[in-house]
């Protein structure tokens, strides 16, 4: 029998329907591989019993010949930012160690209602703050990809899987999950997808419910899938999305059949190339890949246009005011009073101080401090309010651009995966990882990263496409055309 873990979701669904294998077999194959690849540290909590139980239930549903869900029997990894009933949910933080929610997030509930199987909870940057997965209290996640030596061999340096959805990207790339949920606040789905040769889509803000997802920056957070093909992402997103009355920012709109929208036809599609994304110091490799992407789309009948998004250069500083501001407030509830870690103190204030000092890591503390500062009396107008104004201008850039084009093509990241000790020291260097992705969050638009090629050292590089609000259909269709043209078939070492 072929290795079931290499199947796409689309193929696995066909195989399950044709009774070529059972959901239990599919799940067991993944559990077996998870055990073998523990060194990647992709999972914080593995849930094999739950997985087998769900897989068996799926097999029963199929055997009974009744209706099956869109993901019936498909084993998934769940980013540990999604609250899962009865299963520890840590957000990658010490402060939530041992926290078992009594409730199920809307997105995971939607997935389970569609028949999905949960393999476990995936590692991530602490409270989704990071671009390397290095800020997790539960240890680094290792990218299954390795650099190629000059002699063509495999370099031993461990590389980051990107972040914050680093466990998700690594697991999907390493075939220890058919797909995974992620969340994207500034690039946390697209950047790790790009660094691991996987596909990741951040849908339009409001497309997926945020209910039950540990909040980082509420006005930017959005759930989405990481998978190994655009089609799989379309299947996943269709199951995850939908209006939720429990989330006031979730939008009451029907969810289209994204998979059906993948026609492969982009004749007449207008693709924008934003000139401001040619940032200083962009490597030739990235620049060439971007040009190649445009060529691929053009050869399929698209029209390529240069566009301008003039406020792009302000996006990163704007993001690093708004996101920490919201985070500083969202994370105030981790105070040791009702759940999670508590370090006793002689007074309430001392308990807060000791609990939060012990419970939060360095990057989280840094962002809480920044956020508290920019919201303080006397600084609010200069920072937070100003950032909100710039945010409106960035949105207007996109609104104007989408009068001329249907989708926008950019690189996903400024570089391929890097080593754990690279980009260290200066946090701003790390923040630059998000330079191409944060604008999309600030504008609330959908964005997708598609693997488009390998760099000189054999590491995957991604291209990003950005769509109109709530037009994931066009975005996914264009991305699939790009995916087919790129024909990315490389596999990480040892997978």
């Amino acid at each position: 029998m072929t290795d079931l873990t290499h199947l796409t979701i689309a193929d696995a669904l066909d195989g399950l329907a044709a009774k070529k294998f059972s959901a239990r077999e599919l799940t067991d194959a993944h559990l077996k591989k998870m055990a073998a690849l523990k060194k990647l540290n992709a999972y914080i909590t593995e849930t094999p019993e739950k997985a087998r139980e769900q897989a068996d239930a799926s097999d029963k549903r199929r055997a009974a010949g009744g209706k099956v869900g869109a993901l019936d029997g498909i084993p998934l990894g769940i980013k540990d930012l999604f609250c899962t009933e009865g299963v520890q949910t840590t957000a990658g933080s010490h402060i939530l160690e041992g926290f078992k929610p009594t409730y199920e997030s809307t997105v995971t509930k939607n997935l389970f209602d569609a028949g999905a199987v949960m393999l476990g909870k995936l590692n991530l940057d602490e409270f989704a703050m990071g671009s390397s997965n290095k800020t997790s209290y539960y240890g680094n996640v290792i990218n299954p990809w390795k650099r190629r030596n000059e002699d063509g061999g495999c370099d031993s340096t461990d590389l980051v899987p990107g972040g914050s959805s680093g466990g998700s990207s690594a697991a999907v790339a390493a075939r220890i999950a058919m797909a995974a949920t992620g969340t994207d606040t500034g690039g946390s789905i697209r950047q790790p997808a790009a660094l691991t040769g996987t596909v990741g889509i951040k849908p339009t803000y409001g497309r997926c419910s945020r209910w039950g997802i540990v909040a980082f920056a509420s006005s930017l957070d959005q759930a989405g899938p990481i998978a190994r093909s655009v089609e799989d992402c379309a299947i996943m997103l269709g199951a995850m999305a939908g209006h939720d009355p429990k989330d006031s920012t979730s939008v009451e709109m029907p969810v289209p059949d994204f998979r059906k929208g993948l026609t492969g036809n982009i004749k007449g599609l207008r693709v924008g190339i934003p000139k401001e994304y040619r940032v200083d110091g962009m490597s030739q490799e990235i620049s060439d890949l971007w040009a190649k992407g445009a060529e691929w789309l053009k050869s399929q009948g698209a029209e390529i246009k240069e566009i301008s998004l003039p406020h792009t250069k302000y996006a990163l500083p704007t993001y690093y005011i708004i996101a920490p501001a919201e985070a500083s407030s969202n994370l105030a509830r981790y105070d040791g009073v009702r759940f999670g870690l508590r370090v006793p103190g002689n007074s309430l204030d001392e308990m807060y101080e000791l609990t939060r000092a012990a419970g939060f890591g360095k990057e989280v503390k840094r962002r809480i401090l920044i956020g508290t500062y920019v919201l303080s009396a006397g600084y609010y107008d200069a920072y937070y309010l100003q950032a909100q104004k710039v945010r409106a201008l960035i949105l207007k850039d996109f609104t104007d651009a989408f009068k001329q084009v249907d989708v926008i093509l950019t690189p996903s990241t400024p570089s391929a995966a890097f080593g754990f000790h690279e980009n260290e020291g200066d946090p701003v260097q790390m923040y630059l990882q998000d330079v191409f992705t944060v604008t999309v969050n600030l504008a609330g638009l959908p964005g997708i990263s598609v693997p488009a090629g390998l760099d000189a050292k054999g590491l995957p590089l991604g291209l990003q496409m950005i769509g109109r609000a709530f037009d994931e259909e066009t975005l996914l269709r264009s991305a699939q055309v790009l995916e087919r043209a790129a024909n990315f078939t490389a596999l990480p070492a040892g997978v």
Partner: protein
């Protein structure tokens, strides 16, 4: 406020001259609603600790607020009742601070864009005086939970039942000049809230709480530095706290000191205020729009429909009672001050003489209720029963004097007036013949007094009335008795 509005009797005499006290009130009124502002948890008073708490109220990870439309409706109704501007777009902000009974580490409130803007309220003062006070704003916000410090020697317990309950913060302009005016403001506001059914106004249960801003100034001088007094939980305490605080401030200034802007706490045990925290120690609340909630947009037509459906409020009702029913402004004011009394009155007065019913209600029933410490809703005499009693007076079945005895018995036994009159044979005598017989008897028995009367001692008329009434068991129709007696004594 202009100097023309300075009322001499409100001024406080200090060592250095007369002082004016300037007052503004912030009232937190709990919205009458079955569930909380942003969650479906119940809001009943007095439930076991932590039994009315949803995951949202307890600030669990990933929980999100969803606005309760009923609470919005109540706030808009209240705004309309205060003749205030309704803001069709308002914004919920987070007010950030750490405390054990504030689960999220922030309170959802409205800072820059409240749901209700400027309005007015008319105070009903002594001697029928009315005065208008400005409302600055009304906004919706969440209540915090309750910290219980006295349950354990070293621990604090937290009860989150109240956490997330909807409050309306109603802020007045600094338009009041005496503790009487502040008390009148609270009474009127509470009355309006109760008429609207938007807050039960029970200060002892904490569903209406008050912070008072107090400053003093020399007459005509610039505004002084204010202190905010927190935790004043009855109208009586509000008046007492203001009296104390104004005198304290005057003393400080007259002794050469100056007032620090600070928050002070009212200590009802000691009858004084004490410093809680200074301006420098004040929290930086880091307000910012709550990203979990979209701006609240109201439909103008919906607001109009609420306006059309508002009940008649005390000012309008009082005016109607005066104009249409002929009541005095004072009586009308007494009747409308509580919605229940006004409702009782209107039910009792249906088809009766409105002034007569008003008299019976304000002097007799209120007096008896006061004496036994009952409210109008607990009255043993129903509105219908009181109306029937007045009906018996109106159709001359009984006299007003007998009616008082009947009423006393009604109050004690709950029996209807007609039954008491029947059982005790209290129907008044309208037969002039029968009255004449009794008059003749009395005149015969008191011939000396008849002579004195006829000799010019008019005052003896009352003596004869009393004698005849007593002889007739009080049942003689007083008007007839007077008329017959006058003519007979005249000879």
């Amino acid at each position: 406020m202009t100097d023309a509005m300075i009322n001499e009797k409100n001024l406080i005499e200090g060592r250095t001259g007369k002082w004016e006290v300037v007052l503004g009130l912030e009232v937190h009124a709990q919205v009458t609603s079955h569930s909380k502002l942003f969650s479906g948890a119940a809001t009943d008073f007095g439930a076991e600790p932590n039994t009315q708490v949803s995951l949202v109220d307890a600030g669990f990870p990933g929980m999100l607020p969803v606005i309760n439309q009923i609470c919005v409706e109540q706030a808009v109704k209240t705004g309309l009742g205060l003749k205030a501007q309704i803001n069709l777009t308002s914004v919920f902000d987070r007010k950030n601070y750490f405390y054990a009974d504030l689960p999220n580490g922030y309170q959802i409130s409205q800072f820059l864009q409240p749901i209700v803007g400027k309005g007015t309220i008319v105070l009903d003062l002594a001697e029928g005086e009315h005065r208008e006070v400005g409302i600055t704003r009304l906004h919706l916000e969440q209540d915090a939970g309750k910290s219980l410090h006295d349950q354990h020697p070293s621990k604090t317990y937290v009860d989150l039942n109240r956490a997330g309950v909807a409050l309306m913060e109603i802020v007045s302009e600094p338009d009041m000049r005496s503790s009487e005016e502040a008390a009148a403001y609270l009474k009127k506001l509470r009355s309006i809230l109760r008429y609207l059914g938007t807050c039960d106004g029970n200060m002892d249960e904490g569903s209406m709480r008050c912070d008072v801003n107090v400053s003093v100034r020399k007459v005509g001088g610039p505004l002084g530095t204010r202190c905010e007094i927190k935790n004043v939980n009855s109208i009586r305490y509000v008046a007492a706290a203001i009296e104390h605080e104004a005198r304290r401030q005057i003393e400080v200034i007259e002794e050469g000191g100056s007032i620090r802007q600070e928050t002070r706490l009212w200590d009802p045990g000691k009858g004084m205020t004490r410093a809680m925290r200074s301006k420098e120690q004040a929290h930086d609340y880091r307000y910012f729009p709550d990203p979990d909630l979209l701006p609240l947009k109201l439909d103008a037509a919906w607001v109009e429909s609420l306006k059309a459906g508002l009940p008649e409020l005390p000012d309008a009702k009082r005016a109607r009672f005066v104009k249409d029913l002929g009541l005095s402004d004072y009586d009308a004011g007494v009747l409308v001050s509580e919605k229940e009394s006004a409702d009782f009155y209107e039910a009792a007065a249906k088809g009766r003489d409105p002034k007569l019913v008003a008299n019976w209600l304000t002097s007799e029933l209120f007096g008896k209720l006061n004496a036994v410490g009952k409210s109008i809703t607990e009255s043993p005499v129903s509105a219908k029963a009181l109306g029937e009693l007045v009906g018996l007076i109106e159709d001359n079945t009984i006299s007003g004097r007998i009616a008082k005895d009947v009423f006393t018995e009604m109050f004690e036994t709950g029996k209807p007036a007609g039954q008491i009159v029947e059982e005790k044979g209290l129907k008044q005598v309208l037969d002039t013949g029968a009255i004449d017989v009794e008059i003749d008897k009395i005149m015969a028995a008191n011939a000396d007094k008849v002579a004195e009367y006829r000799g010019g001692k008019d005052k003896l008329f009352g003596f004869f009335v009393g004698q005849v009434m007593r002889a007739m068991g009080g049942k003689a129709n007083p008007a007839m008795l007077n008329e017959r007696l006058k003519s007979k004594l005249a000879g």
